[in-house]
Point group: C2
Chain length 348, copies 2
């Protein structure tokens, strides 16, 4: 870098400690022969400055490559123009979609996005949330697994808290939730209309609020549903199939579409034909769900809309009420009438 420094014996014009020679507002002010206040006025805009001075300042800023120090701005303004997003698993495409949506919305309004994945660990989730809370203007927790008291603590610690797929009775917390209760009833109604009676549900993570909503939905649907512990990932679905089959179901409801994809894969290995031998449904309508073989019947909810709604909740004027988002049943090839007789080895 061609920075020529006059060997000023009195006082260094800029410090070169941490910022390693980055130009500061003082450098610009000196070069443009104005005060730092004027530089700020020109660059931040809005304030009255004479055109000649403004040009001089802009030229000087350009010349030294000046960019304001965000930490200093944050310190003064008390806002970092940043939101924090905490998700149980960054590798899960569902959360990735939500992250994509919210980050795009935030960027559109000039905000940055700080993320943390928690590997499905409630304690780590809590720590990350508390840590991030101090940094950001608002915090978004996706499907948090932590306890309600911890969640309250996070609410206290953060300027603004928004939840996705979790509710909390607290005055300053917004939430946007998918109506899984409705979703599960839709799926059950669909399966019932096809004549299914022996249904297995592959459960999600035990601490997931959204899993509890599904379970409530089953009770409301009035169908006898056998529960099998599973999880939320593709691998979990793959692994849970064998136990699920011991219950001799005619239909299988997966916690979400990724689980369902794992299920389809394992069923194929076992020679169980979907939907002839067994119907399979998922939840969430992941991008790949339209491309599996057969296509996955599922309950579709727009992650884009989820992100948009969540962002709305960060607006200072937003209500703290819970926004309910309902999706719709999407019927694809993975569901059909059950066979009369129990599954025998398929022979096509």
């Amino acid at each position: 870098m061609a920075r020529t420094w006059s060997n000023d014996p009195v006082r260094k014009p800029t410090s070169d400690r941490a910022s390693a020679g980055r130009a500061t507002i003082h450098d610009v002010a000196r070069l443009a022969e104005v005060s730092t206040a004027t530089v700020s006025r020109v660059l931040s805009g809005g304030k009255p400055v004479s055109p000649q001075v403004a040009d001089r300042v802009r030229a000087a800023a350009q010349e030294v490559g000046y960019r304001p120090n965000p930490a200093a701005q944050t310190l003064l303004r008390g806002s970092s123009q940043t939101i924090g997003v905490v998700v149980p698993d960054l590798g899960n495409p569902y959360f990735a979609e939500i992250l994509k949506g919210i980050a795009a919305e935030a960027a559109g309004d000039g905000h940055h996005t700080l993320v943390a994945g928690t590997e499905e660990d409630p304690e780590q989730e809590y720590r990350s949330a508390i840590e991030l809370a101090r940094w950001v203007d608002g915090l978004l927790l996706c499907a948090p697994r932590m306890s309600a008291p911890q969640l309250k603590e996070v609410a206290e610690a953060s300027r603004r808290l928004v939840l996705i797929n979790r509710v909390l009775r607290h005055p300053s917390v917004g939430a946007v939730v998918v109506d899984y209760h409705h979703g599960v009833r839709e799926l059950c109604a669909h399966l019932a209309s096809l004549g299914h009676e022996r249904i297995v549900y592959l459960e999600g993570p035990a601490t997931a609020w959204s899993d509890q909503q599904r379970q409530r939905g089953f009770r409301a649907a009035g169908l006898p549903v056998t529960r099998v512990a599973c999880g939320s990932s593709l691998r979990d679905g793959y692994a849970a199939v064998d136990e699920a089959l011991t219950h001799e179901p005619t239909a299988l409801i997966a916690f979400n579409d990724h689980v369902a994809v794992g299920v389809l894969s394992r069923l194929r290995e076992l020679g169980v034909t979907v939907p002839d031998d067994l119907s399979v449904v998922g939840v969430d309508d992941a991008p790949m769900s339209a491309h599996t073989d057969p296509g996955l019947t599922t309950y579709a909810v727009s992650t884009v809309e989820l992100g948009r709604q969540a962002w709305q909740h960060f607006s200072p004027t937003a209500s703290t009420a819970t926004t309910h988002l309902s999706g719709e049943l999407v019927v694809r090839g993975s569901t059909a009438r059950p066979r009369r007789r129990r599954t025998v080895k398929p022979s096509r």
Copy 2:
């Protein structure tokens, strides 16, 4: 909020401007009856402090719920303990995996992760990178699509720059790249050994360096490969199939596994059987690739390792050399001998 303030004419005990009543180090110091320096020493650790004082300070900090202001720390230290990650598409599971890996590594070393998705737009990518550069201690660009001059600018603007799947001749830039040149040669060798001769390659984004590497690999492999414009997403793959088929290939190489999944889906619709009518291969070994029907033959490279290596490059002592990561061929069910019998055996 029920904030009751005595109308203190002398001096406000804490400011309530930006931080909205958050306790500062001064509050702690006053309560513990020590100087702010001592508070800092106690809480940051390392410095000698008498046990009684330390206890008093910790108790005071606890009482007022003190947490240091990160912006102030950043300003002073010149480091935000944060890295920035820019990816073309946050919704793409491949980048989501990488993000997950790097965020976990960073968090393990007490660093935060700032993300930006760029919707595959090189200009937005450039702006995001420049913007983030000012915030973070290090910047990670995943498969950047921007031009080399722009990339150089970003390199100048950032304290530390690391690239994934892109190289740049520049003294202070680290990179970790997958050896796609090797990858496609492996895939081609596999296909050649099965007897394929008419191969179509579904191209990735035009500005992607990694696509160019693949193309170079094809030339090195010495197989005639017809190129068809496609993209990097599942949808792109789905849409490109029809044109690809006009070339009557016996094998199809997709830019990556997501494209390949879209391809499989469309082929199924068209009644083309994989691998009997057509062999399909992908690149990257996405999590779902083992679960498609048939399983996808691909070139596997560990995203976990990718993230780990990238993080290594942020260490102050790291070399700026390019780290090459090679994967390995994974043969699954999507490749087989072409159906049509060859009349002429290739002579060497």
